[in-house]
Symmetry: C2
Subunit: 370 residues, 2 copies
DNA sequence: CTGAAAGCGCTTACAG
DNA sequence: CTGAAAGCGCTTACAG
């Protein structure tokens, strides 16, 4: 498939003029001492105006500020952190499989929301990529006092590890750890069961009776909760199994296929669903990305949406609006979730007593697919 | 469209047992002093073994390591940074519009490549989200000695600002600044003109003579370079303008439409192209994301690919393989670009003289769309 | 309101 | 090879 090009080695092209580029000069850094001297005050006073202490004369404030401006002074962070014993920095830990991670608009939204909220505070948000090869490295970083707290989105890496971490650092989870039991983590999340229930109920309300589902990776609690929401809603409506009463007794007959949240996996799952030969008139897909893939497959098989198969999903993003028809979905208010995670973490850092769990409200968005 | 739910306010649910959650205890931190004491050596020696100095007895090494293990000691980063006058941390600055940014697999790949390379070194990579509301904040952070160097991917924020920044901090650009002229930045990039030329030439070699193009946002140099590559290739082949000789004289007649790299914009651009009523048998789309959108539109209009319209594009990612047919494209080796950016930055930090420009090789990948 | 001084937790010449 | 000491650049009680 690929044309045969020997090896991928970066090519270095010489700079247009002259030889190797000279390294930037050692950059003369202004220091608090310099500022104080120029302003004619002590370091203490200079420090006070920099930190907005009210115990300084307006006179001093002006002179120090002038000196700062003139010197382009920026406080040295390491020194400040060391003295204050905190860093004014929080980290969002994200899994290294960034390709998959970032391609998922869900995470992008969480990050976006977190970043925006953080920028309204005086904390800096840093995304810490968790190296799979060396998870210890991430761990050490987190425990080295580099950040004042951490936001965790990884579902995978053993929550036991993070339980330990959360004993030495304020931590807020964006996902429910699998072994939730004794783990008293602070979490900000959405009610996934309810989201799935809303989407499924919508199909039922539209008169659909044979409702299939495409799930997310069932290793994660979110995907399991959504599956459970679908199932319990069908059961409550006496439609368990997605087709008829008989199937309720044998779960294998349930119309469920697993995907991994990518569009391709949604397409593949839809193919498998169709291959069963068991007719269905409703389909709840656990994410918009997968739904977009499933939609193409339904169309290829000559099935019209929503007429032949009504489809509902979860996530309100470009994947739910780029399709034809657009998807009826449950908006998880994901960017707000990011913001709430930061808010909770800062409260924790500030030593405030906050509740263990914060639930982000969800909302049905009706469009053309069901 | 949206069901009417009043206001989005996070819901806080009380913890199952007891009242508000107690904040984690102050975490007893082990210090170098403690380690030294436990190991029965001086802080100097303890520090030496921690930093792998060869000037220590094996005896000392063992005892210090034992103490470290026993105390779970992790060096305080602020103190170390202050003493060393460097941070062992580098930042990748990314624009705040993370939704759009992250949804683009291109950036995800760059980050991925950078993260993986960084994890093989003793530098930590942090993603710094550039707040649009307060770009100054990002700037101050960068100048406060929080990081040893920065990787820049933003095309927008005035490169003048970063020119200034690059005078006080090693900086490597992943995109070519617009006002390249006097700006002697270090950059790691791909030859966009050549990539477009390869893709366009491929269409010509397949006998296509009326070749249209969908460009990226022309405010960025990469998009402009790709447009230029398409144009110059057509001109060299005597096919300028995409249809006939006449159009070469009037550029307005050129079959070019601008997109913004999203699938939706690719679809819209394809619609506009078709609406012109000027037939074309070849289409070069500046990114796979846009190409996937364009493909849907072509299909909707009953045009078959590659028979009626042969399509080539740039970027080898899920968007170029999720389509039917899959896309013939130019692989930009994007994750390697991320790695090379880090490599260049670390060299700069180490004070090595590196070339101004590093070019990442590109490669044609033949698939079914042309 | 302001300064001198101690201290944050490390690293690193400097002697030995 | 090892230790005592100085110093990294800030902040913050403590006196005044």
């Amino acid at each position: 498939m690929t044309t045969d090009i020997p090896r991928v080695e970066p090519v270095v092209r010489a700079a247009p003029v002259g030889g190797a580029a000279p390294v930037a000069p050692p950059a003369p850094v202004a220091t608090l001492e310099g500022v104080a001297a120029l302003a004619g005050v002590s370091k203490s006073t200079a420090s006070r105006v920099i930190n907005g202490s009210p115990r300084v004369t307006e006179q001093a404030v002006m002179r120090v500020n002038a000196a700062i401006a003139q010197l382009h002074y920026v406080p040295n962070r390491a020194a400040r952190n060391l003295a204050r014993r905190r860093t004014q920095m929080i980290a969002m830990v994200i899994p290294e499989r960034t390709a998959a991670f970032f391609a998922d608009p869900y995470f992008a939204e969480v990050i976006q929301g977190a970043a925006m909220y953080a920028s309204s505070t005086d904390y800096t948000l840093t995304l810490l990529i968790e190296s799979e090869a060396d998870a210890e490295k991430t761990h050490r970083f987190l425990q080295s006092g580099s950040v004042d707290g951490a936001l965790l989105l990884s579902h995978h890496s053993s929550s036991a590890t993070y339980l330990e971490l959360s004993r030495s650092l304020p931590v807020v989870f964006g996902v429910r750890p699998i072994d939730d039991l004794e783990f008293e983590a602070h979490t900000v999340d959405v009610d996934n069961m309810e989201a799935a229930a809303i989407a499924t109920r919508y199909l039922i309300d539209r008169g659909r009776t044979r409702i299939a589902t495409i799930t997310g990776p069932l290793g994660a609690t979110a995907a399991r909760d959504r599956l459970a929401g679908w199932r319990s809603t069908l059961e409550a409506a006496g439609l368990a199994g997605g087709s008829d009463a008989a199937s309720a007794a044998s779960p294998d007959l349930e119309l469920v296929e697993e995907g991994d949240y990518t569009p391709a996996s949604g397409a593949a799952a839809a193919e498998r669903l169709l291959a069963r030969g068991v007719p269905f008139d409703g389909l709840f897909v656990a994410s918009a990305q997968m739904a977009s893939g499933a939609l193409s497959v339904l169309r290829e098989h000559g099935l019209s949406v929503p007429d032949d198969v009504a489809v509902t999903t979860i996530d309100n993003n470009s994947f739910s609006t780029d399709t034809k028809p657009q998807l009826t979905t449950v908006d998880l208010h994901t960017s707000e979730k990011g913001a709430e995670m930061v808010k909770a973490l800062l409260a924790l850092i500030a030593g405030e007593a906050i509740e263990r769990e914060t639930w982000i409200p969800i909302e049905l968005v009706e469009r053309g697919s069901a």
